[in-house]
Symmetry: D2
Subunit: 357 residues, 4 copies
Amino acid sequence: MSTSASGSPIRAAIINVTGYVGAELARLLAQHPRVEIVCVTGRSEVGKRLPEVFPHLWSLDLPIVSEVDEDVDVIFSGLPHAAAAERLTPFIEQGTPVVDASADFRLYDEETYEQWYGEHPSPHLLPESVYGLPELHRDAIAESRLVGVPGCYPTSAILALAPLAAKGWLDGRTVVDAKSGVSGAGRALKITSHFSEVDSNFSAYGLSGHRHQPEMVQELTTLQDRADGDRELSVTFVPHLVPMTRGILATCYPSIADGSLPENSAERAEALRDVYESYYADEPFVHVAPNAPSTKQTLGSNACIVYPMVDPMTGEVMVISAIDNLVKGTAGAAVQCFNLMFGLPEELGLSKIGVYP
Amino acid sequence: MSTSASGSPIRAAIINVTGYVGAELARLLAQHPRVEIVCVTGRSEVGKRLPEVFPHLWSLDLPIVSEVDEDVDVIFSGLPHAAAAERLTPFIEQGTPVVDASADFRLYDEETYEQWYGEHPSPHLLPESVYGLPELHRDAIAESRLVGVPGCYPTSAILALAPLAAKGWLDGRTVVDAKSGVSGAGRALKITSHFSEVDSNFSAYGLSGHRHQPEMVQELTTLQDRADGDRELSVTFVPHLVPMTRGILATCYPSIADGSLPENSAERAEALRDVYESYYADEPFVHVAPNAPSTKQTLGSNACIVYPMVDPMTGEVMVISAIDNLVKGTAGAAVQCFNLMFGLPEELGLSKIGVYP
Amino acid sequence: MSTSASGSPIRAAIINVTGYVGAELARLLAQHPRVEIVCVTGRSEVGKRLPEVFPHLWSLDLPIVSEVDEDVDVIFSGLPHAAAAERLTPFIEQGTPVVDASADFRLYDEETYEQWYGEHPSPHLLPESVYGLPELHRDAIAESRLVGVPGCYPTSAILALAPLAAKGWLDGRTVVDAKSGVSGAGRALKITSHFSEVDSNFSAYGLSGHRHQPEMVQELTTLQDRADGDRELSVTFVPHLVPMTRGILATCYPSIADGSLPENSAERAEALRDVYESYYADEPFVHVAPNAPSTKQTLGSNACIVYPMVDPMTGEVMVISAIDNLVKGTAGAAVQCFNLMFGLPEELGLSKIGVYP
Amino acid sequence: MSTSASGSPIRAAIINVTGYVGAELARLLAQHPRVEIVCVTGRSEVGKRLPEVFPHLWSLDLPIVSEVDEDVDVIFSGLPHAAAAERLTPFIEQGTPVVDASADFRLYDEETYEQWYGEHPSPHLLPESVYGLPELHRDAIAESRLVGVPGCYPTSAILALAPLAAKGWLDGRTVVDAKSGVSGAGRALKITSHFSEVDSNFSAYGLSGHRHQPEMVQELTTLQDRADGDRELSVTFVPHLVPMTRGILATCYPSIADGSLPENSAERAEALRDVYESYYADEPFVHVAPNAPSTKQTLGSNACIVYPMVDPMTGEVMVISAIDNLVKGTAGAAVQCFNLMFGLPEELGLSKIGVYP
């Protein structure tokens, strides 16, 4: 598919607009110069106008319908897993390009999917889906009609560690200690998202195993395998809840194979930095920063800021990355993939500058 | 001045980019399709690159200089009062269009200015400056070369009350109980902006008199005078500090002249609503909402959401308005005025949709 | 009832310990030197241990039961209205002292109650209940066996305005613009208490009429009537939601009868201050502050900080008060009343010092 | 020294009451049943009354003086390092018991101190100072006249890891990924504590080496050495800033020597838990929780909640701990040590129950 930066609008539908992913898709697509949102669907809110549910979308006065009832050029889905594959399958089969924000088209291995999410509604589609991380799969995305947008945590962790995996340097246990704003838990009511419980409070969660871990393993292992098939990597992933709405910071403690980097401290830091700058040299949205990032630097933007460093006390490598979980972590990544799928400039409709402070 | 929506870039300078107003101007202008930022100045940070001070502007890698050292088509200033007039006067006198975010070109009356801010550095320029609220002064702004962007509180209060003042209905005391995020206090360090003091805390301030009150009186009185010279209005303005970064909510309790609106409760509410909807019918950024707004609905956007209502317990009129203090309250208003001054579409480079949640 | 400050423990039950009011009662009573909590009841959580529901109460390892199944000397109830009266009536009728945090025993007038809350389960008990604001009803509380703890907003507003009402000075419309932390909305899940909706956000609510308004009118009118039967007062009450968990700030704009205070600005301020300092001279928990308070100054404490002032711009009187809604606004007030009812020192088990910062 | 729980008040001075540590000492000591605060000193605020600086201390109306000018039984110091040792040395030398919250009496090794803090003003006092962590040094504290209260991060990390170190199991690299509220950075103004910079934001800091790391190494190594002199441990410590005022959560990823715990997953978890429960069986303030703690569970209290677990994905041990940095992390620990030094019940004047929510 190839399309120029101007031209007739691309007609888009957003399925399940009533969650935070859906609302963020609406915000981004409404401001995308080539897109016209022609249809938004919901479940419980069918019959209302979009601004009744999300008053910040007052200028996007569309009815919330139950089914995609318009001819559309592309479908964005904000449905949760299982429901997504089920609902999207007919569209995929009839050839409509689909960008899905659920977990249904992220894991290439059906068994892994089943272990974490239960039976897959449409396993026959897995072979043609592409993991929607342009930094790793740009060409495949451009040629695909079915993209599974990565989980927000995996995006932060994989972009932090990909340059090391691509060298084949990961060796043994990597700890990903990640911290997320509460919007990652969605709009559904639960006591763990209740304001008074979360405000001025900080905690770890998902300690019995988090669904985003296998995505990290899948992508890092794939990268690593291409470079060096021998080294095994494991990922200990611990997510935490930060009393803020948006943003993920991943502090990664990789174990690097001996000899990968110089021993000398200054050389080591410089060599590490070179690896990252060279790996991300042409990426529009990944910034290898000279200092540790903070999440708000990315708020509302599609940026991922990565900071690799050597611990002065122990000589160990550490990498910190920051994203907005709802943008580069979900809806922005969806738009970036869509741009690629439709041959548009990759940055169209997306910002690199966070709303700061 | 008249310019089309496409064409060669308009060269802009931002004076004092190192405060929050300057940084927000940089964010908006960097994404403005017709603007090229060619020069940013600072004071203490001269010699650094912009992203060293504001890492969220990593994609805008300009040096911070001490003086505007490029040919520019327009100057935006984020300097505080007095410093602004002093620094801008030569540019104004040589004909460069100026949009100033300080208080220096807001008050038409030199004496009022002096009472609140001290001696004015360039009182001779006051007659040609225009109060940069497009909703009240669109034509004058379009013809002006010197715009004083309103204070953030006045923007919220005036837009909440203008439809009543334009009818000449304000009669006696209007209470403006306003609540602002902390960014309104700027980037300069002070104990009242220290995180641990402000977090999980709420307080009133400025109780011995706040500089934004005379702006409200100036604009509302001017409007009211056009409609009905007889009624006197007074404004009790109490600002409060909310533990959040951006946003202003103004809860306004106007006193309305008897007979202005029907006595019957349902008719009264409907008539009030009609006044607001008709007054703001053609405004791109003012939304008369069907429910009370919240500040985050406007975050990062140039929207002002206004909600007029009748108190069911007492029959009194109340009006609530919400803005992002750094956008519609300052930098966005500056861009909106700039668009008018340069004959560009008024909405160019500005969003109506808040970054929500 | 008269009891000394030491002696055998007073056996207390907390009904509905599983809400925020119940949990706060547990926190305060567990640290009260004369109380032993012998029984805590819940509804959905029956069968669990208290720390399973509230891990911060790990040192208070009691089972949550469905009914008060122990001999108790006093009952504290954190049930909502209607459920409270229903459940408490048998205890009240058999003579067990009851401190109820619901609205059921606050309004003396059955009709007013019905208008706001529906039918009262036990209207025959209303004549013997006392409004649990010790600053207004200390003696009656000490002699009562049934106390209705005031609503959190009324506590803040009444304590702010009582000195004026007691003089008979309120004349016409008083605006109470109040701001509360989110815990006031309780532990029940709702979208308006969902973290991502409330965080970094500020809004008004309850605009179609709030149940706490008639309490304010009841108490202020009673006070005023004792002083001067002629003047009518009305209360416009607008609550707002602050992105924080605890605390209420009430900014009150009373209308004062002409001639009540001197016209001269300095004298006026001093006379106003004298009225407040004299009214609250002997109160252990009400502090007439020399500057405007902030809510966090009272966090976790039973203090109410009041600041009366004269607006320098208009000469109008304004009064600001701050409390912790869960302590002086609810559970602390309950303990203070309990101390009075049992002849204990009024301050026992209560703090005057907020957890600040 | 031995004193009973009742008796004549113990006269205390607080040096440098005007920082957050000083203010928290004032809050706790003012409510301590055996203490009378007779003197509080400051630097810039000398001449003011304490409530002028900290309005939440309105009930503690003491003058802020420049020097301890009263006979006192004990001195608490909230001065920063170097200033503390300098100011306290005369008191220590004349035999007044001193509890110091600075780093001056924490590190037993003068060289280590110098490396991190510069020259020590009174190195001759180091041999008699005791590290004020009662869980590790109860007897020594009880017999000491000079206690150095641990840093807040070390308290959280050491209590999380002590049971493993005491077994001699730590082997190689332990990662301590710690997250703190902003009050840990103190009351001095800096851009990194400026509300708008920190709010809704999350970041790592101290990446070039943090002064609290050597304390962790000192205490864990000492413990480990007693158990097994052979294994070397290293600590990678990365602190993060959470947009909240109080609280520390430390997520610890220790490397455990092979064979320390059973391989079988269920047995492993149970054995680990036994180690912790037995180690902390008699501790009044350390709670080994059945679930991961959150910081707010400890707010305002002296509790440390510890949660040891086995990662189900990798079998690795992880330990999470939570404290209030200003209480168990500083001022509460000071009071706990003071109680021991004066033969008072260890829990006197301290709470185990957090102010939650």
